[in-house]
Amino acid sequence: MSDDKTTQNSPQTVLSVQDLCTSFRTDDGLINAVKNVSFELAAGEFVGLVGESGCGKSVTSKSIMRLLPDHITEYSGAIEFGGTNLLELPEKGMQEIRGNRIAMIFQEPMTALNPVFTIGWQLNEALLYHTKLGKAERRDRAIELLKMVEIPLPEQRYDEYPHQLSGGMRQRVLIAIALACEPELLIADEPTTALDVTIQAQILKLMRDLQEKTNTAILLITHDLGVVAQTCSRVVVMYAGQVVEQASSSDLFHRPRHPYSKALLESIPRSGKKKKGQRLATIPGLVPTLQMMPSGCRFADRCDYKQDRCVDEQPEIGLTEERLVRCHFPVGSAEASEA
């Protein structure tokens, strides 16, 4: 499904991030990691948040969960979830939402589980916080969850410690923990980056199957466009702390509008359709640093379609042909071809 402004207040919207800015107070002053990020997620939707390292995608996801260190982080904007603004919720209220209505899985399955507690204990914990199940019921539910994520011998695994499991198995356990309370939204922060391709395929399939079964909305954060193409119906592309394009997967992959999205897609070697020794398309230059953001378009320096206006004026994100693009001259638009 393609995104539209009209979905903004429709009842099926699960999460709505509006104008989110996240900054950190550091010794070098306030550093703005995420600026004016807005996007929405409908119930049961599988959305990819894509960008290269340092583009602010992880900060965005951790802002939604409010997992960044409180005393150095400043937020502005709003994160609407189930009718409440998460940014205004007290810590206590946030705790009731975390793991219960919004769950999260992380990049490093090797370190994300507590090494001194058993798998069962760690599954139990999530259930203990958010359900009223008794001890035996929790155990049953935990084993059921382990079965659901296709872990062989769940009864035996229940009493084992994380180090006895392989990376792929640990990521399954983390998914089981995340799904324990049947959340409305699952945020997966690079869940397969640390895994091999064959294991990655297993995990992606598992996530897709579970999403169909439980109708959980999933926000998948990744730098790998292939992963997005394989799983997501809609994609949000971030660059240097901003959203630059938002479109359905099909639209984005076939007809990218933002020059960055286009360049990113072209720089990946394409299987089967190449000539020997063919050069890959590249994006020249470097990502601007957080301390030295250009005042105009943040991508201007590296853009093939750059014009004077791009350097002077920061483009606003706007609706172009059923999708949101932050560009003065979107690729294929009338303005761009004029110039």
């Binding site: 064959t198 395929a201 297993q202 193409a229 990113l264 990946i268 020997k276």
Partner: protein, 326 residues
């Protein structure tokens, strides 16, 4: 005779355990791998983590001493040479490491690093060293003004360029690149791959390119070998992977690789199970535990690499049999 050749290369790492820390076993990182690389050719080595592809590269360059087997370089058996006798070969073969962050000495500037290599191997006369460093930096598309910068002042991609410059400094003929782009962002990855392709052409390099990314190997290499648990599963030309590939593992690898097209996405191919531990490899075919074509014989006897014509070899008895039967 091939330019670079390895014969039955074995590398085991001892595992110590028990009360007296005796050797109680070994990690079978590389298990009898043979390969040939012709002059000017690029061989890809592909496999998942822990399959021994990096160990293979390091054993060939003699960073690690092989447990058994031999390595030949330009007609000389380098695996048996002493440290001093190896020296002339050091400048003919080079290695590019994976992690651009940890592969540069943080306390040496770009020019210090390059000058050290140039001086040690006496590549150019004393008076021309500075000029040569600048040339090298230009070769890898770094500005010569950056010569006095420390590694932390460079971005990941720039560091990888510096790594390449260091390898090129000795004017090598053969370069082993161990996952040179896997730690980089997609856009930077493309820059580095382009650079490597240019350099390969410019200097007529022979290369061994180690990667876990099939798309990159397919794009970059002439031929590839597929490794699984220390053994070669398949040897195939990169020209037409989709049709040529025969081994069930390579096929699985190919199909679990996400394709960049949401519309062409068919049902995900899933390879069940996980890689067995290299401490205790199965007696038969290492892939038997996950293979869809598995037969009883696979579990007990290790398949031989069988040549299927035109440089393609495969280590899978059922597939070979099927092909022979028609």
């Amino acid at each position: 005779m091939s330019f670079v050749k390895a014969e039955d290369l074995v590398k085991h790492f001892p595992i110590r355990g028990g009360v007296f820390s005796r050797i109680v076993g070994a990690v079978h990182a590389v298990n009898g791998v043979s390969l040939q690389i012709e002059k000017g050719e690029t061989l890809g080595v592909i496999g998942e983590s822990g399959c021994g592809k990096s160990t293979l590269g390091k054993t060939i360059i003699r960073l690690l001493q092989p447990t058994a087997g031999s390595v030949w370089f330009d007609g000389t058996m380098t695996s048996a040479l002493s440290h001093n006798d190896l020296m002339p070969f050091r400048r003919r073969m080079q290695f590019i490491f994976q992690d651009p962050y940890s592969s540069l000495n943080p306390r040496m500037t770009a020019s210090q690093m390059l000058t050290e290599v140039i001086r040690f191997h006496d590549i150019v006369p004393v008076g021309e060293r500075k000029k040569y460093v600048d040339e090298l930096l230009e070769t890898v598309q770094l500005r010569p003004e950056y010569r006095n910068r420390y590694p932390h002042e460079f971005s990941g991609g720039q560091r990888q360029r510096l790594n390449i410059a260091r390898a090129l400094a000795v004017k090598p003929e053969f370069i082993i690149a161990d996952e040179p782009v896997s730690a980089l962002d997609v856009s930077v990855q493309a820059q580095i791959l382009n650079l490597l392709m240019d350099l390969r052409e410019q200097f007529g390099l022979t290369m061994m390119f180690i990667s876990h990314d099939l798309k990159v190997v397919e794009h970059f290499c002439d031929r590839m070998i597929v490794m699984y648990l220390g053994s070669v599963m398949e040897r195939v030309s990169c020209d037409n992977i989709y049709e040529d590939v025969r081994h069930p593992y390579t096929k699985a690898l190919l199909r679990s690789n996400p394709i960049n097209d949401p519309d062409e996405q068919t049902e995900l191919f899933i390879l069940e199970g996980e890689v067995p531990s290299p401490r205790d490899p199965p007696p038969g075919c290492p892939f038997a535990s996950r293979c869809e074509l598995v037969e009883d014989a696979c579990r007990s006897t290790q398949p031989e690499l069988v040549t299927l014509g035109e440089g393609q070899q495969i280590a899978c008895d059922p597939v070979v049999r099927k092909l022979r039967e028609g």
